[in-house]
């Protein structure tokens, strides 16, 4: 009698003394299981396919991807982290790669595509070694050692560039340009680079070598060419003055920043007021009137000429404000209010009684911007007493370009910040990877045992970056790579990279294509770490989706 034996490869199955299988693990029929080398191989294949998606976005000639979300929203980008996050991957290993690029994004903000490409290449190389019969963990150990050598080598070749707090600092500008090179905004290259440098320098704390990103705000508005984007040394509010008749420009502003509504104060406790007579009603009305007048008086007394309020106020208050020559902005969000307070050196005031002259914020000018024919208005608050708050205002002919502009600017701001934190740089265009690859290959011959293979594989994986760059730029990858390698060795120079833009020289130092050292180091470390994690898995158990 043939017994009904479930698929033994799928689940953990045991048999009793009669050879009949029985269940040990809940829902075991629905669980999928992959085991041993097969599991490792399938992981590598998954990672490879993810890496190959972002591969074509690498470098200044990298291409963009269109991503359409479930709701039909369209994103066009070539930012690795954004592409991967929006792809909504299902495979577990692919998800790991997404997190990898995201953590590069969080930490460094740039090089999110490169890290995935390196990780993919490392896994690719590992696959060959596994097929040769080398234990996956030994490969991972070898990669770790090789990565150490590569990172040490990066330290030794890094150049320190001088940076200063001047906005014309050419080094910072050029670095910002490098990171913008691959983005859609490259036609407004100089403009954006200058914006990024100015924004960071405005908020940077050179003593602590720290840059607080919360002080840099990004706003976008569709319409107008991307060159119209500008850096506002102050705050931009997506609001307008509460009354259309208020003047559109206020100069020498004294701003009262309020978190209480323009209405008679209410107790928080539940309350009830019984009105039984007409007299009482009148008293109440008078009371309210009086309260409004009191508020206005208090504001006036403090010397303010602009009121910024977190809450709204009704028409009566609005009218009174206008009549008293006070400009008012209502419904400002909490974080914007805070930013406004910081920028104008004002204090946030919780009730009218606390308003005094020294709690007011000061700004040179507040003006209402009007855009095209859409009647969209925004308020610009400039010449603030504290310059440590800036807003990058991005324009673009459509939503996608504006959004991509923000991402591009964010990347270059990150690069500038990283340089302020650590002014050591290595050269881009694959130069850094190439020289590391050479260093690791050298070290490989000195290794005893199996690590030699892993070292060579690591070096080969590093070569993928210049190769991909060459490929994306329409050059012959292998020819370019071998030519460059020979040149680097012959000239003993670590700053020769792929000439993606056809500038006629391979010297990246001359072209000033630089990357912050910490960013490159991070890429290698993260990619190696992830490779180890994936190589170490040899058993996958996936619970089936509940069918009920």
């Amino acid at each position: 009698m043939a017994q009904q034996v479930p698929d033994l490869s799928n689940a953990i199955v045991a048999q009793d003394e009669m050879g009949r299988p029985f269940i040990i693990v809940r829902d075991q029929g629905k669980k999928q299981r992959k085991h041993g080398i097969e599991a490792t191989k399938s992981h590598i294949l998954a990672a490879r396919s993810v890496a190959s998606i972002v591969k074509t976005s690498l470098g200044p000639r990298g291409l963009d991807k269109i991503l359409i979300s479930q709701d039909g929203d369209i994103t066009i980008t070539n930012d690795g982290a954004t592409i991967l996050t929006q792809m909504d991957l299902d495979n577990e290993i692919a998800k790991l790669l997404v997190e990898l690029s995201r953590s590069q994004d969080d930490e460094i903000g740039d090089g999110t595509t490169g890290v995935v490409v390196i990780a993919g290449a490392l896994l690719d190389q590992a696959l060959e070694l596994i097929e040769k019969g080398i234990h996956p963990i030994k490969i991972a150990n070898g990669f770790d050692e090789a990565c150490k050598i590569a990172v040490e080598h990066l330290d030794s070749i890094a150049d320190t560039i001088s940076i200063s707090s001047e906005s014309k600092d050419t080094n910072l500008l050029k670095a910002a340009k490098t990171s913008l090179g691959s983005k859609v905004v490259s036609k407004a290259h100089d403009h954006f680079a200058q914006m990024a440098v100015d924004a960071v320098l405005a908020v940077a704390d050179f003593e602590r070598k720290d840059v607080d990103f919360e002080l840099i705000k990004m706003e976008k508005k569709v319409g107008g060419p991307i060159e119209d984007s500008s850096l506002i040394r102050g705050v931009l509010l997506d609001k307008d003055f509460s009354h259309p008749q208020m003047p559109k420009i206020v100069k020498d502003c004294k701003i009262a920043i309020l978190t209480c509504p323009f209405e008679p104060p209410k107790p928080k406790t539940k309350h009830k007021l019984d009105i039984s007579t007409v007299e009482e009603f009148k008293v109440l009305q008078e009371y309210e009137q009086k309260k409004f007048q009191e508020m206005i008086d208090l504001v006036k007394a403090s010397g303010a000429n602009v009121v910024a309020c977190q809450w709204g106020f009704d028409d009566e208050a609005n009218h009174l404000l206008l009549a008293n020559g006070l400009n008012a902005i209502r419904w400002i969000g909490g974080s914007e209010l805070e930013l406004l307070a910081i920028a104008t050196n004002g204090r946030i005031v919780p009730r009218f009684e606390d308003l005094t002259a020294d709690k007011l914020g000061t700004a040179g000018v507040i003006r209402e911007l009007e855009f095209g024919t859409t009647r969209d208005r925004m308020l610009v608050i400039e010449d603030c007493s504290n310059t440590k708050a800036v807003t990058c205002f991005i324009r673009g002919s459509n939503e996608m370009i504006a959004a991509e502009g923000i991402r591009a600017l964010h990347d270059s701001i990150c690069v500038v910040r990283n340089l302020i934190r650590d002014s050591r740089v290595v050269y881009g265009g694959g130069a850094a990877e190439l020289t590391c690859s050479l260093a690791v290959t050298d070290a490989a011959d000195k290794q005893k045992g199996i690590d030699q293979y892993a070292f060579r594989a690591f070096a080969a994986a590093l070569d993928t970056i210049p190769m991909t760059l060459a490929e994306n730029s329409g050059l012959d990858p292998i020819e370019t790579l071998s030519a460059l390698k020979a040149k680097q060795v012959n000239e003993n120079s670590s700053h020769l990279g792929v000439d993606c833009l056809g500038k006629g020289t391979n010297d990246m130092k001359e072209l000033f294509v630089i990357d912050p050292l910490i960013g490159k180091k991070q890429q290698l470390l993260l990619a190696t770490q992830l490779t180890r994690m994936i190589l170490k898995i040899n058993d996958v158990i996936i619970s089936g989706k509940d069918e009920y």
């Binding site: 790991l96 107790p267 805070e338 898995i537 158990i541």
Partner: protein, 546 residues
């Protein structure tokens, strides 16, 4: 053929109750445990691999930790569940060796299976296993090496070595020098009397390399939700005064569901003022204590935030209670449930306070605490799963170091102690007459699974190395075990592959206990879930234990 010849079935148990019994039951239980053992085996040792588990709600876990894997496997078989329980018990008791305990228990059962097949009474086997276990534990105690605690440096070395061994099988093995220092610092910073590892806070921040992880000799927690005005507060203090509250600082109704009846319009303002007065009194009382930092478990509203900002006070509301407990342990003082009567002794302090950016998050760091009986490990890593696994590995290492602090006896790992015990038991068995001899020998053989599996996972020739080990132990080399560096055997005591003896003792006794318990079970009676009714029970009947 006729009805009269058929004896009517006597129903003793409720319909749908599944029962199976006898020798078959014991065997099928053993089989179930072996299947579990099989799953765990590849994860043992420094070359053990990881298992990726995706739970039914889509959460991914990548782990090498026996207890974690077993917990996530969602095992329903009653006998197999026993293995989950012992690995969990090992986790709770010593924190490490959760894989080995499961493998050992499985191996004991496997050896016992042949005897059961041959018809030996399970009670005899149990007796033999217990006897062998006692002997083995006694032997560990006899040969364990005592480390002198007096020499602070040497003691630290010991702790670091134990931590390194515990980490050797994990993802972080390559960074073990970095992490052992962290772990040992963490454990030594605790109160040496009760060593409550809960006071070691572990915070996870994705991003950065693993070596970007931080050790904070104090407390660190993520920036809490803040209201407008927070950014205007100072973010750095030296020797701050810290007030810890359990008070909501917010303009709000003092009593829920209370209603005020306002009789006259002029009373209206009075009530509003009264409410303001209540909150201002609270804030003033706090400011009067001279505090620089105000922490509260409950929300601190925007009014209070701005009030503090005006007075150069830093505040954080909604601090989770674990963080708060650790802050108290670190900076001293007490949690106040009211704002009045805050005495100077209730106010804590520390050397420096700072809000710093760690990766994408902002953290509040309290450093250099006078009563630092606590510390925080801020872990970094490329992906969430990486950090989660680092955390588990560190937990194991912390538990091991903790055990080593309280019991400073060590044995050599890498299969050395198991081989020595195995040799000892084999020798002993020859002096015993009767069936016990067989069982003790079987126990001795089962112990060899540890070095054998270590070899197998590393891709080494297990049979050859095992024979080498046997012969060297026979020559009296106490601490010879597998040496992965040379892919051969070596003296693991000299190679500093050390484990606290307590871990081994605990592993052996719980594995033996689990094995004996399973062997003594010869019947399972299972009540089916009432909603399934008899149908499911009927089909499952006779299928072993389910």
């Amino acid at each position: 053929m006729s009805f009269s010849t058929q004896t009517p079935t006597i129903v003793v148990l409720k319909e749908g109750t599944d029962s199976s019994q006898g020798k078959g039951q014991i065997l099928s239980n053993i089989n179930a445990c072996l299947a579990i053992q099989d799953t765990l085996r590849p994860t043992l040792g420094p070359f053990g691999s990881d298992i990726l588990i995706v739970s039914s709600n889509g959460k991914t876990t990548i782990s090498n930790d026996g207890a974690t894997i077993l917990k996530l496997l969602d095992i329903v078989h009653p006998a197999a569940k026993m293995l989950v329980d012992i690995s969990r018990a090992q986790d709770a008791e010593v924190g490490d060796g959760t894989t080995s305990v499961t493998i050992l228990a499985g191996e004991f059962l496997k050896e016992a299976k042949t005897f059961i097949d041959d018809g030996m009474s399970s009670h005899l086997i149990i007796k033999g296993l217990r006897r062998a276990n006692e002997l083995a534990i006694q032997k560990i105690k006899d040969i364990a090496v005592q480390i002198k605690r007096e020499d602070g440096f040497e003691f630290r070395q010991l702790l670091e070595k134990c931590a390194t061994t515990a980490m050797s099988s994990k993802l972080i093995s390559k960074n073990s020098t970095f992490f052992t220092k962290m772990v040992v610092d963490a454990v030594l910073s605790l109160d040496q009397e009760d060593l409550d590892e809960k006071l070691i806070g572990i915070k996870k921040v994705p991003g950065g390399g693993m070596e970007d992880s931080l050790f904070v000799d104090g407390v660190a927690f993520k920036k809490t939700f803040s209201y407008a005005g927070f950014e205007q507060q100072p973010k750095q203090f030296n020797n701050p005064k810290i007030v810890n509250l359990n008070v909501e600082l917010e303009l709000k109704a003092e009593k829920e569901n209370a209603e005020v009846r306002v009789e006259q319009v002029k009373d209206y303002q009075a009530i509003v003022d009264a409410e303001w007065q209540i909150i201002f009194n609270k804030l003033e009382a706090i400011a009067n204590t001279g505090a620089n930092i105000v922490l509260s478990k409950l929300p601190i509203g925007d009014l209070a935030t701005q009030y503090f900002a005006d007075r150069n006070i830093f505040c954080a509301g909604r601090v989770s209670s674990e963080d708060m407990d650790r802050v108290i342990k670190a900076v001293g003082g007490n949690i106040q449930s009211t704002c009045s009567n805050i005495n100077p002794e209730d106010i804590g302090t520390c050397a420096t306070f700072e809000e710093a950016q760690i990766g994408g998050e902002r953290y509040n760091l309290f450093k250099g605490c006078p009563q630092a009986k606590t510390c925080t490990l801020v872990l970094r890593g490329g992906a969430e799963q990486v950090i989660a696994e680092v955390e588990r590995s560190l937990h194991d290492a912390i538990m091991i170091v903790k055990r080593a602090v309280s019991h400073s006896e060590v044995v050599a790992g890498g299969g050395a102690i198991e081989m020595e015990l195995s040799k000892y038991l084999r020798d002993y068995a020859k002096t015993v007459a009767g069936k016990q001899q067989l069982i003790i020998t079987a126990y001795a053989k089962a112990l060899e699974i540890i070095p054998r599996q270590l070899c197998e996972n590393a891709g080494l020739d297990g049979i050859e190395l095992l024979n080498k080990l046997r012969s060297s132990h026979a020559k009296g080399e106490l601490w010879y075990g597998i040496d992965f560096q040379k892919e051969s055997i070596g003296n693991n005591m000299k190679n500093f592959i050390w484990e606290p003896s307590l871990v081994k003792i605990n592993a052996l006794s719980s594995a033996t206990e689990a094995a004996t318990l399973l062997l003594s079970v010869d019947e399972t009676i299972k009540n089916d879930d009432s909603q399934d009714g008899g149908a499911a029970g009927g089909s499952a009947r006779g299928r072993g234990a389910f």
